[in-house]
C-alpha cells in the first residue's frame, strides 16, 4: 500500500513534469507560429524597426497576388501563414451549454474558410479559452490572449467584457461581445467592440408590442403585462425595454419581476407572483431551464396567458418536455437570427458547414460572429495593416456585412442610432418541426420592428451597468 | 585531614596553588562573557557564562560555609550530570572541602555505605528519588550528614525533614553569607595547599566494597597538564581551547568524566553541554556536535550497533550507497590501521569519494561531524569498533589510566595510533611493566594520595619502591605502545594450564550489535564457555523482521532462532582465536543485567563474582 502510494505520487509528479515540458514543447515546436514569448520578442523587434514588412514568402494566393503583404504584429505569422483569433468563451460556467455550440459554429465556419484557401492564403486558428463565466478568469485569460492573437473572436458576458474594455482600448485590440447589451451602442464604450444583433431592450420592445397586438386580435382590449427576468445586464436591460414599451403602448405592468429569476433557487415563487397578477401577457428573460421552471409552475396552477421571451429563453428541448403542448398554445419566441433549418441562403450555408452536428439555434450566432471577424480581417488585409490596431480600425469601417438573410446586415459606420439593429424575428414553437429533427422553431415574422423600437432614441444604455 | 586550618581573613594573600576552582576564577577574569556550560531546559540550551558560573560557585561556597562545612569536610553529590554538580564540586574545592560523587544508580545500601565511609557533612541529592535513598533509611543511619540539598523540588514539598534544603534557598543563604562575610571563599581558596584532597573517587568495586581514592590539587594539576593539554592529541594538533564543545553525559563521579568534563572546562576553557539524560545522548550529540568526545566502549559499541542497524534498514537506493560507503570505510580503516592512523593517498582518495557520498551525512546524523578528538577508555574495546569509526573519519583514540593515577598512564597520539593498544606513556612520567607479572606500574605526580581512611589498602596498591600497582597486565608493542592483556584478577588459567585473557574474546563478541554482555568462563576448567546476554532493542527488531513473536527478554533470549544466531556470532569470534581460546559452549543470560541487582558495577562492568553466584546453575550446566 505504502509503496503503491509513493509510486502514484511519483507518477503524478512525473506527469506534472511531463505536462510542463509538454507546454514548453508547444512553444518550441510551433516557433513558426508566434506563441508565448517567442512571438512577443519578435514583434517588439519589428515594432522598433518601424514599419518593417516581412517580405519573405508572400502567400501566393489568387486573391492576394496583386496585393502587397500587410503589416502585421501580434497573432499573424506570414511565414507560417496563420492568423490566430482569441476566444473568451464560457464553456463550463453558467452559460456553458449556450456558448459551447456558438464556439462550434465558429470552428465550423473557420474550418470551411480555411478549406477554401483561408484569408488570402492565411489559415485561421482559434485560440479558445474557457472563462467559466468568471470575471477574474476573463481578465486573466484576456491577458494571455492579447499577446498571441490578432483579435478577440468573442468575449462572453457584459460585465466581463466591460472589465476588459479599458484594456482593449489601450491595447488597441478588437473584440466581438457575445452579449446583446444595449450599452454597446455607446461609441465611447464600443470603440474597440463590434456589437451585433438586436439589443435586449429593443428585442423586448418588439415582442411586447407584437404580443400586445396578438392579444388585441384575440379580443383582449386592454391587456395587462407581467414581466420577470434574470438579474444582471441581460435580464434588466430587457426589462427596461419592456417597461418602455409598456409605457409607450399604455399597457399596465401588473407584476414587475425584474431580476427575480435567480439561478439555483426555487422558481415557484416567481411563477406564483405572475399567476397572482392575473396578467394577460408575460415577458420572460431567462434561459430555457429557468423559463421552463417558471412557466411550468405557472401553468400548474392553471394560469393562461400569452407568453413570450427573449432569445436565450428558448431551447428546442422544451418541445420534448411535457410543456410542449402548452407552449405551442402560449409561446411567442424571438431571436435576431433566423432559426436552424430556415431557408435563407445564410442558414443553408451554415447547415452545410455544420454537417451532422446536432441541431441548435446557436450555431448561427457563432457563424455571425465569425463572419464579422472574417470581413474585418479581409478589410484589414486590403488596407495593408493587419496589426491589432489595424484590424480594429478596419472593422470599425465595415459596412453592410451580409449574412445571407440569416441575420440583419451589420454596419459600423454612422450615428449610433442609425446603425443599431432593431429587427427581431418572431417564431412559434412547433412540435412537428421538432419531430422532424429540427429545433422546432417556426418563423412567423421575419425582420419585425415595432414602432416603439423603431422610434426609440438611444441616449445611453437602457440599463446602466 | 581533619586538622583545622586557621581561616585567613585577608584575601590578599596570593596563592601559589592553582586549584580547579581558582582556574574558573581566572577564566571569569579573562573571558567573563565566554560560555562555560550549557544545560538543556525546555528545549533550549541555556548558557552559563564564566562570570556567572564563578559567581555561583562563590555563592555556593558561601552557602557551604554557612552550613558549617569546614576545611577537609566531605560534600557528597548524588545526582545526574547537571550544572549544580559542577558548581557544588568546585565550590567545595574552593573552600578546601572534599567532594565525592555517587552514581545516580547507586541503590540505598550503597548510598548508606558511601556516605558513612566518607563521613559526608552535606549531601546533595538531586531529586525525590535520591532524597528517598537517604530518608528512607533508619533515622540515624547517616550520623554525619547535617544537610541534604536538592534541586528538583517536585514531590518534596511535604517532606518534613529538617536537614532538607532547596537549592535556591541554599544559594540565597550563600548570598546572605557572602554579604556578611565578603571574600571568605576567596580567602580560603587562596590558602589552598597542593596536598589538599579535593575529591574522593570511589572505585567501582568489582571485588569487595568500594574504596575512596583521594585525589588532591597536585593530582588535578598534573592530570590537567598531561591529559587535557597533551601535545598532539587532536586531529589538528591544537590543544583543547574555549571554542571546543564537550557533551557531558557519563557520571561525573567517575574519574574519566570528571577529567573530560570538569577538568577540561577549568583547564582549557571548553564548553560543557549537559546531556538531558542517557536516553537522549544520541539526540544531544546531534545538537551539540561536540568537538571533543569521550565515551566508554559500551557507548561506542552502542553507536556502532545503531549505525549498522540503521544503515541496513534504509530504503533500497540508500542501501546501495551505504554498501559502497561501508566498503570504502572498510578499506580506509584497514589502510589507516596499517599506517598508524594516517591517511595514505589511496585512503585519502577513498575518503574523498566516501565523504560526500555518505560519511559526512552519517557523522552529522551521529553527531560526530565536528569531532576533532574522540577517545575511549575505562574498559577494553574491540579493535573492530575502533576501525569502524576510523573508516568514517572519526578516529577514536584509546587511552588508559585509572582513578589511582588520575588516569594518567598512556594514550594514542594522533598520527601514532596503534589499534589494539592503549598507546604510549605520557611524556616524562614513570611507567614500567613489572618484569614478573607484566603488571603496569606508574609513578608520577598524578598518583593518588591514598585510599580514604584505608592506609593498609593504600599500602597494598603501592610497590615497595613507591610505584602504583595498576592491577592490569600489559605488554609492550614495538617498545613504544602498550597493549593491555587483562586485569590480573581476570586472567583465566584453564585446567590445561593455559593463560587466557577473557576480555579480548568478550569484546570480540560484543562487537556484534546483538550482543550486549558476554562473560567468558574457564578458570580451572577444561575448556572455555560463555554467558551471553543479548541487546534487547536490536534483537527485538531482528525478531520483528523475522516474524518471531516474543514476550519478555527471557523469552526472546531463549528463542531457538536467537540461540542459533548467537551461535553463528560465537562461531565467527572463534574463528579469530586459537583453539584453546575458543568458546565451546554458551548459555544465554536470562535477564538484563542491572546495577541495582548487583550484577553490574555502577560503571556497567560485570561483577564476575556476583555473576558466578547468581548463575551457578548455568555455569555448572556448561561443564556437565
Amino acid at each position: 500500500m505504502k509503496v503503491s502510494r509513493k509510486l502514484l505520487v511519483l507518477l503524478f509528479v512525473l506527469g506534472l513534469i511531463a505536462a510542463a515540458c509538454g507546454g514548453d514543447d508547444t512553444a518550441e515546436t510551433t516557433t513558426a507560429a508566434p506563441s508565448d514569448d517567442g512571438g512577443t520578442t519578435e514583434t517588439t523587434a519589428a515594432m522598433d524597426d518601424g514599419d518593417t514588412t516581412e517580405t519573405t514568402a508572400a502567400p501566393s494566393d489568387d486573391g492576394g497576388e496583386d496585393m502587397a503583404p500587410p503589416v502585421v504584429d501580434v497573432g499573424i505569422d506570414l511565414d507560417a501563414g496563420t492568423i490566430k483569433i482569441g476566444m473568451l468563451s464560457d464553456l463550463t460556467g453558467a452559460f456553458g451549454p449556450l456558448v459551447t455550440p456558438i464556439v462550434a459554429g465558429h470552428e465550423a465556419y473557420w474550418a470551411s474558410v480555411n478549406a477554401n484557401g483561408g484569408i488570402n492564403g492565411l489559415q485561421v486558428e482559434l485560440v479558445i479559452r474557457d472563462t467559466v463565466y468568471d470575471v477574474t478568469n476573463h481578465v486573466t485569460l484576456y491577458e494571455e490572449l492579447k499577446d498571441q492573437v490578432v483579435a478577440i473572436g468573442h468575449s462572453t458576458g457584459s460585465p466581463h467584457t466591460l472589465a476588459i474594455n479599458e484594456d482593449l482600448q489601450s491595447d488597441g485590440i478588437l473584440a466581438i461581445p457575445l452579449t446583446w447589451y444595449s450599452g454597446w451602442t455607446d461609441p465611447d464604450i464600443n470603440a474597440n467592440l463590434l456589437p451585433h444583433g438586436t439589443p435586449y431592450c429593443i428585442e423586448a420592445m418588439n415582442m411586447i408590442e407584437y404580443i400586445t397586438d396578438v392579444a388585441k386580435e384575440t379580443g383582449i382590449a386592454n391587456p395587462t403585462l407581467a414581466i420577470a427576468s434574470f438579474p444582471g445586464d441581460y435580464g434588466l436591460d430587457s426589462m427596461a425595454g419592456a417597461k418602455l414599451a409598456a409605457e409607450a403602448l399604455g399597457i399596465e405592468i401588473v407584476h414587475d419581476g425584474s431580476g427575480t429569476i435567480i439561478p439555483g433557487q426555487d422558481q415557484l415563487p416567481v411563477a406564483d407572483a405572475i399567476t397572482g397578477s392575473g396578467a394577460d401577457l408575460v415577458w420572460i428573460t431567462a434561459n430555457a431551464t429557468f423559463f421552463g421552471e417558471v412557466y411550468g409552475g405557472a401553468i400548474a396552477s392553471g394560469f393562461e396567458a400569452l407568453w413570450s421571451g427573449a432569445g436565450p429563453n428558448w431551447s428546442p428541448a422544451l418541445l420534448d418536455s411535457p410543456l410542449a403542448d402548452a407552449l405551442q398554445r402560449d409561446y411567442y419566441g424571438t431571436f435576431y437570427l433566423s432559426p436552424w433549418g430556415s431557408d435563407s441562403e445564410g442558414m443553408q450555408e451554415l447547415m452545410a458547414i455544420m454537417g451532422d452536428a446536432p441541431p441548435t439555434d446557436f450555431y448561427g450566432e457563432g457563424f455571425v460572429e465569425a463572419k464579422i471577424m472574417h470581413e474585418a480581417l479581409l478589410k484589414a488585409y486590403e488596407l495593408g495593416d493587419m496589426t491589432q490596431a489595424g484590424v480594429t480600425a478596419a472593422a470599425k469601417s465595415l459596412e453592410g456585412i451580409d449574412f445571407g438573410g440569416m441575420a440583419p446586415s451589420e454596419t459600423y459606420v454612422g450615428e449610433p442610432n442609425d446603425i443599431v439593429q432593431r429587427e427581431s424575428m418572431v417564431f412559434r414553437p412547433d412540435a412537428a418541426l421538432r419531430a422532424a429533427g429540427g429545433t422546432g422553431t417556426l418563423m412567423i415574422e421575419a425582420a419585425y420592428t415595432s414602432p416603439t423600437a423603431a422610434s426609440f432614441v438611444f441616449e445611453g444604455a437602457c440599463f446602466e451597468l | 585531614m581533619t586538622a583545622t586550618v586557621e581561616r585567613v581573613d585577608s584575601s590578599g594573600a596570593a596563592s601559589s596553588v592553582k586549584t580547579v576552582a581558582s582556574r574558573v576564577r581566572d577564566w571569569a577574569e579573562s573571558d567573563p562573557q565566554g560560555t562555560a556550560m550549557r544545560e538543556k531546559d525546555f528545549g533550549i540550551w541555556q548558557e552559563y557564562g564564566w562570570s556567572k558560573l564563578w559567581d555561583e560557585i562563590v555563592t555556593a561556597g558561601h552557602g557551604l560555609l554557612a552550613l558549617g562545612v569546614d576545611v577537609g569536610d566531605v560534600v557528597s553529590i548524588h545526582s545526574e550530570d547537571r550544572p549544580e554538580w559542577v558548581i557544588l564540586d568546585l565550590a567545595t574545592v574552593a573552600i578546601r572541602g572534599i567532594t565525592t560523587g555517587l552514581y545516580p544508580t547507586n541503590p540505598m545500601a550503597e548510598v548508606k555505605y558511601l556516605l558513612n565511609d566518607s563521613g559526608a557533612r552535606v549531601h546533595f541529592a538531586e531529586d525525590q528519588e535520591q532524597v528517598d535513598k537517604v530518608l528512607e533509611a533508619e533515622p540515624d543511619a547517616f550520623p554525619t550528614v547535617t544537610s541534604i540539598l536538592f534541586v528538583e523540588p517536585r514531590g518534596l514539598r511535604s517532606y518534613g525533614d529538617d536537614r532538607l534544603m532547596f537549592w535556591d534557598d541554599f544559594m540565597e543563604m550563600g548570598r546572605d553569607h557572602r554579604k556578611a562575610n565578603p571574600g571568605a571563599v576567596e580567602a580560603l581558596m587562596a590558602a589552598a595547599e597542593p596536598d589538599d584532597v579535593i575529591t574522593l573517587v570511589y572505585t567501582s568495586g568489582t571485588t569487595g566494597p568500594p574504596k575512596g581514592a583521594m585525589l588532591n590539587n597536585k593530582n588535578a594539576t598534573f592530570a590537567i597538564d598531561k591529559i587535557v593539554m597533551a601535545e598532539g592529541r587532536t586531529r589538528d594538533g591544537k590543544s583543547p581551547h574555549p571554542d571546543d564543545q564537550v557533551l557531558t553525559y557519563l557520571p561525573l563521579c567517575h574519574v574519566a568524566e570528571r577529567i573530560f568534563s570538569t577538568w577540561h572546562m577549568v583547564g582549557a576553557g571548553v564548553t560543557l553541554n549537559f546531556a538531558e539524560s542517557i536516553e537522549t545522548v544520541q539526540v544531544n550529540l546531534r545538537e551539540i556536535q561536540p568537538t571533543l568526545f569521550f565515551a566508554v566502549p559500551r557507548i561506542w559499541e552502542k553507536i556502532h550497533a545503531t549505525i549498522l542497524i540503521k544503515l541496513n534498514d534504509a530504503s533500497r537506493i540508500k542501501r546501495v550507497f551505504n554498501g559502497i560507503g561501508l566498503k570504502l570505510a572498510g578499506f580506509i580503516a584497514a589502510d589507516r590501521t596499517a599506517n598508524k592512523g594516517n591517511f595514505t593517498w589511496k585512503s585519502r582518495l577513498a575518503y574523498a569519494i566516501g565523504n560526500p557520498l555518505m560519511f559526512r551525512a552519517l557523522k552529522e546524523r551521529v553527531g560526530l561531524r565536528r569531532c576533532r578528538w574522540a577517545g575511549t577508555g575505562a574498559a577494553a574495546i574491540a579493535p573492530e569498533v575502533l576501525q569502524f569509526f576510523m573508516g568514517f573519519g572519526v578516529p577514536v583514540y584509546e587511552l588508559y589510566g585509572m582513578t589511582e593515577n588520575s588516569a594518567v598512564a598512556t594514550l594514542n597520539h594522533h598520527g601514532r595510533v596503534k589499534v589494539g593498544t592503549v598507546g604510549e606513556p605520557y611524556s616524562d612520567i614513570g611507567l614500567r611493566l613489572d618484569e614478573e607479572s607484566g603488571e603496569i606500574q606508574t609513578k608520577h605526580d598524578g598518583v593518588f594520595a591514598g585510599y580514604w581512611r584505608l592506609p593498609e589498602k593504600t599500602a597494598e596498591t603501592m610497590t615497595d619502591d613507591g610505584w602504583l600497582k595498576t592491577g592490569d597486565v600489559g605488554v609492550w608493542v614495538e617498545d613504544t605502545h602498550i597493549k593491555i592483556v587483562d586485569r590480573i584478577k581476570h586472567i583465566i588459567i584453564t585446567s590445561g594450564g593455559k593463560n587466557i585473557s577473557p576480555s579480548e574474546i568478550e569484546n570480540s563478541l560484543k562487537t556484534s550489535p546483538y550482543i550486549k554482555e558476554a562473560m567468558v568462563i574457564g578458570e580451572g576448567r577444561k575448556y572455555l564457555t560463555a554467558l551471553i546476554g543479548i541487546e534487547l532493542d536490536t534483537v527485538g527488531m531482528w525478531a520483528l523482521r523475522q516474524s518471531i513473536p516474543y514476550t519478555t527478554y527471557r523469552d526472546l533470549s531463549e528463542k531457538p532462532e536467537v540461540i542459533q544466531m548467537v551461535q553463528r556470532l560465537v562461531d565467527e569470534t572463534n574463528a579469530k582465536f586459537a583453539r584453546v581460546e575458543q568458546i565451546k559452549k554458551f548459555r544465554m543470560i536470562p535477564k538484563e543485567l542491572d546495577h541495582e541487582d548487583g550484577e553490574l558495577t555502577a560503571t556497567q562492568k560485570v561483577k564476575r563474582g556476583a555473576m558466578f553466584e547468581m548463575f551457578e546453575d548455568l555455569v555448572e550446566d556448561l561443564y556437565r
Binding site: L91, A104, F230, G259, I262, P358 | K310
Partner: protein
C-alpha cells in the same frame, strides 16, 4: 553556533522564522527571483539576456502570478482558521465579499447608482480587512456553538446568505450579474488625482529600481519602463511577502499556539487554559481579516466583479488550496495556490501539445489519437473541437483533472504538496539512514 543547526541556545533562535543559514539563503534567493520575474527580458548581464524563470515574465503569467499572490493571501487567512485552529469553514468567499465591497464603498468612484467615497488605498485596504474581521466576529458566536461538519454547513449557509445580500444591496455591489467598478490598485495621497505610485499603468521604473540600477548599473541593465502587469505583480508580491511573514509569525505567538492547541485537542486545550470561545473568536476575526484584504485586492485587481463571484465555488477553491498545499503550513498554502492557478495553464498547454501531436501523426501521434477526438466521428476522451464532438473538451478536462487531483491528493498524500516536500526533504535529511 555555526554548523550546528539543531543547537538552540535561546528561544529566539529556536523560534526564529529562518533558523538556519541555508533557509535564509534559499528564501533570499526566492525573493530575489520573485523580483526578477517581471524584469526578465529587460535585464541584461553583459550582452546576454538573463532569464531566470523564462516564460514567467509574460504579462499573462504575471497576471496568473498576481492571482496566486491574492489567493495566497486569502488562503493564508483560511489556513489560520482551518489549518491552525482546526475550524472548518466554507464561508471564506463571504468574508472576501465583505472586504471587496468595503473597498468598493470606501475607495470606489461615485457612480450614478453606486456609493463611493474615492478614498485612497491606504484607507480602503486596511478597512476592508477590518470590516471583514468585524463581520467575522459577529458570525463567530454562532460558529462557536457548532463543530465539525455542522460548522462547515453553517459557513456554507453564510455564503448563500452573503450572496443574497450582495445581490440585493445594489447601491454597494452594483447588483447581480452586473457588478460595479472598483478602486484601482494605485497608491495615492489622499484624494489626489495623480497617484503617487501607480500599480495599474505603464510607466517608468520605480525609484527602488533606480537605486538598484545605480548599484548594479555596470553589470545589469534594468529596463527604463515597467508594464502595469509587472508593477501590479510586484506590489502584490510585496504584500504577499508581508502577509507571509505575519502568518508565519502568528504560529510563534501565544494566539497561534492557542489555535493549534484548540485544533489538536479542544477540550484538553480548554483544560490547559485556552478559552474555547475566545480563541475561536480570534481565529474567525483574523481569518476574516485576511479574507477581506484578499477580497479587496481581488476586485481591485480585476477592476470589476459581480456579486455571484463570491460563491461557494470560491470558498471551495480556498479549501482546496489549503488542503492540496498542506493544512496548517504557510509554505504548503503558498504551494497550493501556485498549484491551483498554474496547473490549469499546464493542462491547457498539454492538450495543445496533444492535439498537435495527433495532427503531426507518427507513432506518438497515433497513440495520442486514441485519446483525442478530432471530429464528430472520432471517439476519444478529449475533444479538440469545442463542445459538439464526443469527449470532454479541454476546459471540461481541466475541471475533471482538478477534481481528480483533489481526490488523489487527499487519498494518497493527505499532507498535500507540503507532505511531498517534507518527504523529499526528509529523504535527504535522513541520509544515509531512513529514519
Amino acid at each position: 553556533m555555526r554548523g550546528r543547526p539543531h543547537l538552540y541556545v535561546s528561544y529566539e533562535s529556536e523560534q526564529s522564522l529562518l533558523p538556519t543559514w541555508t533557509q535564509r539563503v534559499m528564501v533570499g534567493l526566492l525573493v530575489f527571483l520573485l523580483v526578477l520575474i517581471p524584469l526578465q527580458g529587460g535585464i541584461e548581464i553583459g550582452d546576454r539576456l538573463y532569464q531566470p524563470v523564462g516564460f514567467l515574465g509574460d504579462n499573462a503569467w504575471l497576471k496568473i502570478l498576481s492571482r496566486v499572490a491574492i489567493f495566497g493571501i486569502g488562503a493564508l487567512g483560511l489556513n489560520i482558521l482551518t489549518g491552525l485552529a482546526g475550524q472548518v469553514s466554507l464561508g471564506h468567499a463571504f468574508f472576501m465579499g465583505i472586504g471587496a465591497y468595503t473597498a468598493a464603498v470606501l475607495g470606489g468612484e461615485v457612480g450614478k447608482a453606486h456609493w463611493g467615497l474615492g478614498l485612497p488605498i491606504w484607507i480602503w485596504l486596511p478597512a476592508a480587512g477590518l470590516v471583514a474581521a468585524l463581520v467575522g466576529m459577529l458570525v463567530a458566536p454562532t460558529a462557536v456553538k457548532v463543530r465539525g461538519l455542522y460548522l462547515a454547513i453553517v459557513t456554507l449557509g453564510l455564503v448563500f446568505i452573503g450572496e443574497h445580500l450582495f445581490r440585493n444591496l445594489t447601491s454597494i455591489t452594483g447588483g447581480s450579474q452586473s457588478g460595479r467598478k472598483f478602486p484601482s490598485l494605485d497608491f495615492r495621497l489622499w484624494k489626489e488625482e495623480e497617484p503617487f505610485l501607480a500599480f495599474t499603468s505603464d510607466g517608468p521604473m520605480w525609484p527602488v529600481f533606480n537605486w538598484l540600477d545605480w548599484l548594479f548599473g555596470p553589470w545589469i541593465n534594468f529596463p527604463a519602463e515597467m508594464s502595469e502587469e509587472a508593477k501590479t505583480y510586484l506590489a502584490l508580491a510585496a504584500l504577499l511577502v508581508v502577509v507571509v511573514v505575519l502568518a508565519k509569525n502568528l504560529q510563534r505567538t501565544r494566539i497561534g499556539r492557542a489555535f493549534m492547541a484548540l485544533r489538536d485537542r479542544d477540550i484538553a486545550a480548554e483544560v490547559m487554559g485556552v478559552p474555547d470561545a475566545k480563541t475561536k473568536f480570534e481565529a474567525f476575526a483574523l481569518s476574516s481579516f485576511y479574507a477581506g484584504i484578499a477580497g479587496a485586492l481581488l476586485v481591485a485587481f480585476i477592476g470589476r466583479a459581480i456579486p455571484e463571484q463570491f460563491n461557494l465555488l470560491l470558498s471551495v477553491q480556498f479549501v482546496v488550496i489549503v488542503l492540496i498545499g498542506g493544512a496548517g503550513t504557510v509554505a504548503g498554502t503558498l504551494m497550493g495556490s501556485v498549484f491551483v492557478f498554474v496547473f490549469p495553464r499546464l493542462v491547457q498547454d498539454f492538450s495543445g501539445w496533444l492535439t498537435e501531436t495527433v495532427e503531426s501523426g507518427g507513432v506518438i501521434g497515433s497513440i495520442a489519437d486514441v485519446f483525442v477526438s478530432t471530429g464528430l466521428d472520432d471517439p476519444g476522451l478529449v475533444s479538440t473541437l469545442e463542445g459538439v464532438s464526443p469527449g470532454l473538451n479541454v476546459s471540461q478536462l481541466n475541471v475533471v483533472i482538478y477534481g481528480l487531483l483533489i481526490i488523489g491528493f487527499l487519498i494518497f498524500e493527505p499532507l498535500g504538496l507540503y507532505g511531498i516536500w517534507l518527504r523529499v526533504r526528509n529523504y535527504w535529511k535522513g541520509w544515509p539512514f531512513s529514519y
